[in-house]
């Protein structure tokens, strides 16, 4: 039996199981920690979509604009995320190229795609198994943060390589856009309520 059907609500902050409001109001205050407790996250799907669409829009400048500008005696060069990966690949660090490609390209794309699927399937039956969807959701929450890697690398390089006339590294506008993609997609994953998947896809005999 789920908590909602039993007239109970779980506080997402401290996980106390609270009694639903006797007057029939949507949210109650958690007696232990004081957080507002909703039966399901408020406007979960609308918020997920809003953050997700914003992230997808920012993903375009994040990939087209340079994330890093290197000036040296030999001139100025600009790197986008992809050209940075290509540079590592060509300069004999395939391991690093694969790492950066995974966290900067594969993870954000997979995360946005997975969230779009989850937000679609949460509302209508898809023939998908709630167990598989639930695992997809936990995976998405786990890996998203690692996409911040390239932003940190650019920030550290820009902070360190300041040799006035000799060589300087600057962060490009792509870095800010990419950081925004990571933040927005984390907000999207945060707004999504996985319990919606089970409300629509779970069967009562799902216990194993």
């Amino acid at each position: 039996m789920n908590a909602l059907a039993a007239g109970l609500r779980m506080c997402l902050s401290c996980r106390t199981v609270c009694q639903a409001d006797a007057a029939g109001r949507e949210s109650v205050r958690c007696p232990r920690c004081g957080a507002a407790v909703h039966p399901r996250k408020a406007d979960s799907l609308a918020r997920t979509w809003a953050y997700l669409i914003a992230a997808a829009i920012m993903y375009i400048p994040a990939n087209l604009l340079p994330v890093m500008r290197t000036s040296s005696l030999f001139g100025t060069s600009e790197d986008t995320i992809i050209s940075g990966v290509a540079y590592f690949w060509a300069s004999g660090s395939p391991g690093l190229a694969i790492l950066i490609f995974t966290v900067s390209v594969v993870i954000p794309m997979a995360k946005m795609g997975a969230l779009a699927c989850l937000a679609t399937w949460a509302r209508r039956p898809s023939g998908m198994d709630a167990h598989a969807l639930g695992r997809l959701h936990s995976g998405v929450e786990l890996v998203g943060r690692w996409s911040m890697l390239d932003v940190f690398v650019v920030a550290l390089m820009a902070g360190m390589v300041q040799f006035k006339s000799l060589a300087t590294v600057e962060a490009g506008p792509g870095a800010a856009a990419f950081g925004a993609v990571v933040v927005l997609s984390m907000l999207a994953a945060n707004s999504f309520d996985p319990r919606l998947l089970w409300d629509n896809h779970g069967r009562p005999d799902d216990a194993r």
């Binding site: 232990r32 902070g159 040799f163």
Partner: protein, 207 residues
């Protein structure tokens, strides 16, 4: 408001299935019977042990931010960089959004996490429950996903490799402090914060 029956219940955060709470042994976790998600854990370490780990992490944090992470040498010029120095350089170069993101995720939230943990554990240790306890613990819980020290650590290693192609790079004192901090934070983050809500239960179960 909470009756005895509800205090003995746990609901799954992924699928909302209701379970009856059980007393666990240290290090044990309870999983949802329906979807397998972890419902609650009994921390392996006692609050006083955690307090020692948090204190060590705070010291590592101070060291990691006072000394240079990397020392760069090119054509006789030496450049030293700290994390906050990098943030300041980004800010003054007109990259305020990137500077703010790095500052918040790699400095502000981790330091808040450590200080909040320190105060909460201290309160539990002394058996007091100041008025700020609940709001602080709630804020800490909400901010946790946004602290990204372990991602920064990987970023430091990647920049080390990247820079070694352009100049002579020497690891600074702060690099070792960062490694220690990352390990200590991994231990701290694996501590289930929700156990802090019911320290009494923990104490009686230990007795």
């Amino acid at each position: 408001m909470t009756s005895v029956a509800e205090a003995g219940l746990a609901a799954c955060p992924e699928c909302d299935e209701l379970h009856i709470r059980r007393v666990l042994h240290p290090g044990e976790r309870a999983r949802c019977a329906r979807c397998g998600t972890t419902l609650y854990r009994r921390p392996r370490r006692r609050p006083d042990q955690m307090l020692a780990i948090v204190t060590a992490a705070l010291i590592a944090f101070v060291l990691a931010n006072t000394f240079p992470i990397l020392v760069l040498r090119a054509q006789g010029i030496v450049n030293e960089a700290t994390l906050l120095g990098s943030v300041a350089a980004l800010w003054s170069a007109g990259q305020e959004p990137v500077a703010a993101m790095v500052f918040v995720t790699a400095w502000l939230f981790p330091v808040f996490d450590l200080l909040a943990m320190f105060l909460l554990l201290l309160a539990i240790q002394t058996g007091s429950r100041p008025a700020l306890f609940a709001p602080l613990l709630r804020t800490l819980q909400a901010m946790r996903p946004w602290g990204m020290i372990e991602v920064l650590m990987l970023g430091v290693l990647v920049s080390l490799i990247k820079l070694s192609k352009m100049a002579d790079v020497l690891p600074g004192v702060a690099l070792y402090a960062f490694i220690a901090l990352t390990v200590l934070l991994a231990v701290i983050l694996s501590y289930d914060l929700r156990a802090l809500w019911q320290p009494d239960q923990q104490r009686t179960a230990e007795a």
